[in-house]
């Protein structure tokens, strides 16, 4: 019995999709938003993106090396985390702050909980919230064209609806974090991911629809100038802040969203409600980051109540 053939349990064929090429595609999908951020905010933004991405990858490498674990930086997931954090940083924040955020994201949120697939919270958002709490001033200072001023969302919060320009917000010519300002650039990346089948509309779709319904109905209670389903208010809320970046790139993070189809719908609804609630009635004009990380924590619960019925027990329909 020499020259035995390979044996293995079936199936004997596998699809070509791998985790690392999924992560690589997500990285590519983030490039339009990154490029626009650099175009919009200049060299500071480019350096910030490089620092956060490089620090994230390096942190993962050093941790795994020290812990004698398999080095997994080739799977691009640390790249995605670092880049996403960079896109969530104000362009004027000091570089060390971005680096600190990346270390927090990879070390505390991801690796200490077991590495890829085990983190219960989106690492980039966890780090962003950590920085927001620790360095509130610098994390919410937005400079545009050399002037420090409020973001369009902050204007909305002040009740100054008339002073925001929707077209500027769509293109991204507004102050904000590096990657969140251009709706068009974000949507280009999102369409790319949808076409590849990497994300679908279930989470971002329900998220955005729920959010629109919520602010359409309750917008008038937060600001007397805003009408019932006021189109200008809704457009400004949709294009402002981190909603688009969050809905398409962070709420859709596989690891921290429900695996069940109906659970993803529930998750989207919870996200929409929380974001609306935080933005209209919260202390800050922003709400997406907190809405997503709180919803991340609700995922096990959501999955528990949305377990699918198996085939032959009512689940075939």
């Amino acid at each position: 019995m020499e020259n035995q053939l390979n044996i293995s349990s079936s199936p004997h064929i596998r699809s070509k999709v791998t985790s690392s090429n999924i992560m690589l595609m997500v990285t590519i999908a983030l490039l339009p938003a990154s490029a626009f951020g650099v175009y919009n905010f200049g060299m500071d933004a480019l350096l910030m993106l490089i620092v956060t991405t490089a620090t994230a990858v390096l942190t993962e490498f050093i941790y795994e090396k020290l812990m004698h674990k398999k080095i997994t930086i080739g799977d691009f997931s640390a790249v995605v985390t670092g880049l996403l954090l960079g896109l969530n940083m104000p362009p004027t924040a000091p570089l060390w702050m971005g680096a600190l955020g990346s270390v927090f994201a990879i070390l505390i949120v991801k690796q200490l909980f077991g590495g890829l697939g085990q983190n219960f919270m989106n690492p980039a958002l966890g780090a962003r919230c950590f920085l927001l709490i620790s360095f509130a001033g610098q994390m919410t200072k937005f400079v545009y064209d050399g002037e420090t001023g409020p973001t369009p969302l902050a204007y909305l919060k002040e009740g100054a609806l008339s002073s925001v320009n929707s077209m500027d917000m769509l293109i991204g010519r507004i102050p904000g974090t590096i990657g969140e300002t251009s709706v068009i650039a974000i949507i280009i990346g999102a369409i790319f991911l949808i076409m590849l089948g990497i994300i679908d509309l279930r989470i971002p779709g329900t998220y955005i629809v729920t959010f629109v319904l919520f602010i359409g109905i309750f917008g008038q209670f937060s600001d007397a100038n805003v009408g019932f389903f006021d189109p200008q208010f809704i457009t400004a809320e949709l294009c402002g802040g981190g909603l688009m970046l969050g809905a398409w790139f962070m709420a859709t993070d596989y690891v921290t969203s429900p695996i069940t189809k109906s659970g993803q719908i529930v998750y989207g609804i919870v996200l929409g409600l929380l974001t609306g609630l935080f933005r209209l009635f919260g202390g800050s004009s922003e709400g997406v980051s907190y809405a997503i990380i709180i919803s991340n924590l609700l995922v096990p619960l959501i999955e528990k109540v949305t377990l699918p019925k198996p085939f032959g027990k009512g689940g075939e329909k």
């Binding site: 044996i7 596989y254 032959g312 027990k313």
Partner: protein, 456 residues
């Protein structure tokens, strides 16, 4: 909108304009073009024939020949070993050389009758048969059982037992499984192209056992020529219908096929008969026809020999017991030394460590590949992407069940419906982390089943 409406309607009523199918499933490269257009070739083995006594589910057959006996092609050499069992017939003429253990395609060593081929192919004279119309149901069933017909799609369940449900009057549908959804295999396709009348004849035999039943041919729509042929042949058969199914793996899975064609759903605790259905694949139907109408036992089958390591892929009428290596030689031998050879399809077949095994009643194909696509894969962490959930035809959560299985948590595994898995392998196929999902779930299912037997 109209198309969507029809799709929904089609699913609910089990028919309509839209293609019939099920939720979930995958679309692997089908590789069928390699052997699809190769007509069936008769093969006459030269070497010894090895007949495993266990080629079916149930009790092994009991040998009724001894070393030194001379046997003829078509002569019974082993008797059914119980109610759920099947007899075995010699497929060549020759001398019984030994009754000894040999490896079968699944890698197990089982007792086999070895016949030295005299190369003359002298066949027994079969007893004349009565016309189908004059046979009683009991006579029909006995003819099927006596001929040693078993489910030839892969499971090998004795057909006579399957056709004897507790309440035969409650059977509404006889479904011929013509899906052939496994990649590479074209054996049933060739059967349907070359002798569709024998398939329809087999259906006629089975329908005569169940007066209230309707006969359905469920064919994947990647075989439009078969659909056309069967439609033409059955146009004057009011009790038969040909249904085009969406081409998707595992469309030929029993539960998925029943659901696609009838809209009825069965789970792990039910048999098809509980939903008023009986399912038999093409090869089995043709063997039923042969047994009842021609009075001939089950002694050979169509085997596809294919894959990128095979010189001339094709379809062969191979006698049971024939060495699979000899069959590979019939197909021009190996182009290159293969890394992997599979008995059956790439999704559910068995990888063999040696090709020195016999063709059995359930060997639908021998597939040889130069490169083993699984060997080089490295398992990485689950990223919770949900592709396995999308692909799972049983609508369970393979990634979580594999976790419970790896943690030996049988209780949670059962609670989370792990036993509903049909082990089709779709989850392992799509997993981007290349986790052995089906493999883990399959092992746990075996443990749970073994524990259940112990308790009884």
């Amino acid at each position: 909108m109209y198309i969507i409406y029809n799709k929904l309607k089609g699913r609910k009523e089990g028919k309509g304009m839209a293609l019939l199918t099920f939720k979930g499933g995958i679309h692997p490269d089908d590789g069928k073009s390699l052997a699809k257009d190769k007509a069936i070739v008769d093969v006459k083995p030269k070497g010894d024939l090895v007949y495993p006594l266990s080629q079916h589910i149930g009790a092994p057959a009991t040998p009724i020949v001894a070393k030194g006996d001379h046997v003829l092609r078509g002569q019974k050499i082993a008797e059914a070993g119980g109610f759920v069992s099947a007899p075995i017939y010699a497929s060549v003429s020759g001398t019984v050389k030994a009754i000894e253990p040999h490896f079968n395609p699944t890698g197990a060593k089982v007792n086999c009758i070895v016949v030295e081929n005299d190369g003359e192919y002298k066949e027994v004279e079969y007893a004349p048969v009565k016309p189908l119309e004059e046979m009683t149901k009991e006579e029909i069933l006995n003819a099927i059982g006596e001929a040693g017909v078993v489910g030839m799609g892969g499971a090998g369940f004795p057909t006579k037992v399957k056709l004897s449900p507790k309440e035969p009057e409650k059977i509404d549908y006889i479904i011929a499984n013509c899906a052939e959804c496994e990649p590479y295999i074209t054996a049933d396709y060739r059967r349907m192209m070359e002798t569709p009348e024998r398939l329809v004849g087999g259906m006629k035999v089975v329908l005569s056992l169940f007066e209230h039943a309707k006969g359905i041919f469920g064919v994947e729509d990647n075989k439009p020529d078969c659909i056309e042929k069967l439609k033409e042949l059955t146009k004057d058969e009011p009790r038969m219908e040909v249904m085009a199914l969406k081409t998707k793996y595992p469309q030929g899975g029993e539960r998925q096929l029943i659901y696609a064609t009838t809209g009825r759903a069965i789970n792990s605790t039910m048999l098809p008969a509980d939903a008023g259905c009986v399912v038999d694949n093409v090869e089995t139907m043709i063997n039923i026809y042969q047994a009842v109408v021609e009075g001939k036992p089950s002694i050979e089958r169509i085997v596809t020999v294919s894959g990128d390591a095979i010189n001339e892929p094709g379809n062969f009428r191979a006698p049971f017991g024939m060495n699979q290596m000899e069959l590979v030689e019939q197909a021009g031998g190996f182009k290159e030394e293969p890394e992997k050879v599979i008995s059956g399809g790439p999704m559910m077949g068995f990888a063999m460590f040696t090709v020195d095994v016999p063709v059995t009643k359930t060997s639908s194909s021998v597939l040889a590949f130069v490169k083993d696509p699984v060997k080089r894969l490295e398992e990485t962490a689950c990223i919770n992407c949900g592709r396995c959930v999308d692909a799972c035809p049983s609508r369970i959560i393979p990634s979580r069940l594999a976790d419970y299985a790896q943690h030996h948590d049988a209780e949670t595994f059962e609670k989370m419906n792990g036993m509903e898995c049909v082990e089709c392998g779709s989850c392992s196929y799509v997993c981007p982390a290349k986790r052995p999902l089906k493999q883990s779930i399959g092992s746990m299912r075996k443990i749970v089943l073994a524990n259940r037997r112990k308790k009884k």
